[in-house]
């Protein structure tokens, strides 16, 4: 079984978000970058499936050289090899084109991604890759089992779950509880250093959208503290001031 896992290089979930250059660039100073948490779920499930059914896991990132530490981390938790498309991931359409181009070369049985990246939260790339390759795409996937040539999945829907089946190959955008995040051990970290990481140049692609500028949300006003004995006052405030009741 050949699995391709696509990972993003995103600010740690605790990062403070700030912008520079007249609010046109993300301020990377002091920010720690991680594998996207949803991508990390996809990766963990891919490694489990590989162990259960035998096969290989290839990780793919569209990004510049700075992303290599997180690619090595993916190798350390159990991926076998990696591909980096050497380009700035400017928009989802551009990224999808790059992923589809790599996937065409590899004849993978499944392409696992996160349900969304946590920087731009597009939730788009898996659908686009599915369309480009003419494959079914399913997202957000909560469980994934393989039986023969068939994948059995559950997908989150508003207020519930949907169970579905699809033949391989397919594309899936994953979320918890598909697997538990894996933490690399010492042996994994050592072996990751020598696993193959191939760098390829991007294929030509237009961008569909152009960033104009970034903006931070307005800051919260003062908090009003209410005595724990006086819930009538809270109800009054919610009714008359906030007008939400």
């Amino acid at each position: 079984m050949k699995i391709l896992v696509c990972i993003t290089y995103v600010p740690d979930t605790t990062s403070k978000i700030a912008f520079t250059e007249g609010d046109t660039k993300f301020d990377k100073s002091g920010v720690q970058f991680i594998i996207g948490p949803y991508d990390d779920y996809a990766l963990a499930r891919a490694v489990e499936l590989k162990e259960a059914h035998s096969g290989t896991v290839t990780v793919l990132n569209v990004g510049e050289a700075e992303t290599e530490p997180i690619i090595r981390k993916a190798l350390a938790v159990g991926a076998d090899d990696a591909i980096r498309v050497n380009a700035e991931p400017i928009d989802s359409f551009f990224v999808a084109k790059q992923i589809a181009s790599v996937a065409k070369e590899g004849s993978y049985d499944m392409i696992l991604m996160g349900r969304e990246s946590i920087d731009f939260n597009g939730g788009m790339v898996h659908g686009m890759v599915g369309e480009l390759l003419g494959l079914p795409s399913v997202s957000p996937v909560m469980t994934l089992e393989i039986e023969g040539n068939k994948a059995k999945m559950s997908r989150e829907i508003e207020g519930g779950k949907e169970y579905l089946e699809v033949d391989m190959p397919f594309v899936a955008g994953c979320q918890e509880p598909i697997a538990e995040w894996k933490i690399p051990n010492m042996r994994g970290i050592m072996s990751a250093r020598t696993k193959p990481l191939q760098v390829v140049e991007p294929v030509d692609s237009d961008k569909a959208t152009v960033l104009d500028k970034y903006e931070l949300p307005p800051s919260k006003g003062e908090i009003k503290m209410i005595d724990a004995e006086n819930m009538e006052e809270l109800v009054k405030l919610l009714k008359n001031d906030a007008k939400v009741l």
């Binding site: 600010p11 605790t14 948490p37 989802s92 359409f93 731009f120 939260n121 597009g122 939730g123 788009m124 898996h126 659908g127 686009m128 369309e131 480009l132 003419g134 079914p136 795409s137 399913v138 997202s139 957000p140 909560m142 989150e156 829907i157 508003e158 207020g159 519930g160 779950k161 949907e162 579905l164 089946e165 699809v166 033949d167 955008g173 979320q175 509880p177 569909a208 959208t209 152009v210 960033l211 104009d212 500028k213 970034y214 903006e215 931070l216 949300p217 919260k220 908090i223 009003k224 209410i226 724990a228 819930m231 009538e232 809270l234 109800v235 009054k236 405030l237 906030a242 939400v244 009741l245």
Partner: protein
């Protein structure tokens, strides 16, 4: 300007988020055609006129009752071409978002999701979208070609303007290839207020000590007609179902009112609630970080405060 709006339904009713999509398209000054898939009563579809749609295309084939991503994408693209629409508007949802990605490639449109406001067309066509899980916004130019706008909850206000839409049958040829994914069953939490769409959300965290203590959370929620949510550790420990988990890696909510009980306010939790209009925090620790993000705060033991609050709400009704 001709705008197509893809509308979703649940239990035979068009979803509020889809009504917002119609309101959004109407506000843009468009001629609005709605597209509904699967079996839905005609009266319900006619009523979309009341919200701003002139016409409703209805692909009533029962094969479209289930939300199969590929099939939906093909039908929507087909309707878009047939109507010579310029813009597709839909609500961000677990179905709409993945579907819109495929439609974008089929009709060669630029696509932006998580849009929070009407476009600014004074110079180009710029939309504001939420990024970094609600921690920031980006203003994006969508160019001059076809466009798909997937809106976040509250991007437009639903208004009743009166009137009925004309409903037209729409029967695109369905390709078997698009039905490669087979839905075998659906587990639906019925009766409850759906969390992503709720106007009021009552959420509990690890401070509630165990699943047996959720009765008072549910009592408070039902006194408010609210949906219930929780923090990640709570669903990780199976105290509550997974689909209630709110935050960076869970559901993102944007209600009028979010009440957090026994939740510390970790940044990953806040990422899921920061587009709430008002936040009330109940926590016994005055130093809990959630207070920094709150509008109203109560320092106290949840086991005493919550029943009192429920009672005060009931008395005020």
């Amino acid at each position: 300007m001709s705008i197509l709006v893809f509308v979703e339904s649940a239990e035979g009713k068009i979803k509020k988020t889809s009504l917002e999509a119609i309101a959004y398209a109407k506000e843009m000054g468009g001629e609005v055609t709605a597209l509904a898939l699967g079996e839905i009563a005609t009266a319900e579809l006619e009523d979309l006129g009341n919200y701003g749609a002139t016409k409703v295309l209805h692909a009533a084939d029962s094969k479209l009752n289930d939300g199969i991503i590929q099939a939906y994408a093909s039908v929507i693209a087909h309707a878009f071409e047939q109507e010579s629409a310029e813009i597709l508007v839909l609500a961000n949802s677990s179905l709409g978002t993945p579907v819109s990605a495929r439609v974008a490639l089929k009709i060669e449109a630029s696509l932006v999701s998580n849009v929070v406001d009407l476009p600014d067309t004074t110079d180009g066509f710029k939309v504001k979208r939420s990024i970094y899980t609600g921690k920031a916004f980006a203003l994006v130019d969508m160019g001059s070609g076809k466009k798909i706008i997937a809106i976040k909850k509250n991007a437009a206000e639903v208004k009743e303007i009166g009137g009925k839409a004309t409903v037209e049958a729409f029967s695109p040829a369905l390709d078997d290839k698009d039905f490669a994914t087979q839905i075998t069953s659906i587990d639906k939490a019925t009766g409850d207020v759906l969390l992503p769409e709720a106007e009021i959300v009552v959420s509990g965290g690890r401070g509630l000590k165990g699943p047996e203590n959720w009765g008072m959370v549910e009592d408070l929620a039902s006194s408010l007609g609210a949906a219930t949510g929780c923090s990640k550790p709570v669903s990780d420990m199976d105290w509550r179902p997974h689909h209630e988990h709110v935050g960076q890696t869970g559901v993102k909510v944007s209600p009028q009112l979010y009440i957090a009980i026994g939740i510390s306010g970790a940044i990953q939790h806040l990422a899921g609630v920061n587009s709430s209009k008002y936040i009330v925090v109940i926590n016994k620790d005055p130093e809990a970080p959630f207070f920094k993000a709150a509008d109203y705060g109560i320092v106290g033991d949840a086991f005493e405060v919550v029943p009192k609050l429920t009672e005060a709400i009931k008395n005020a009704q």
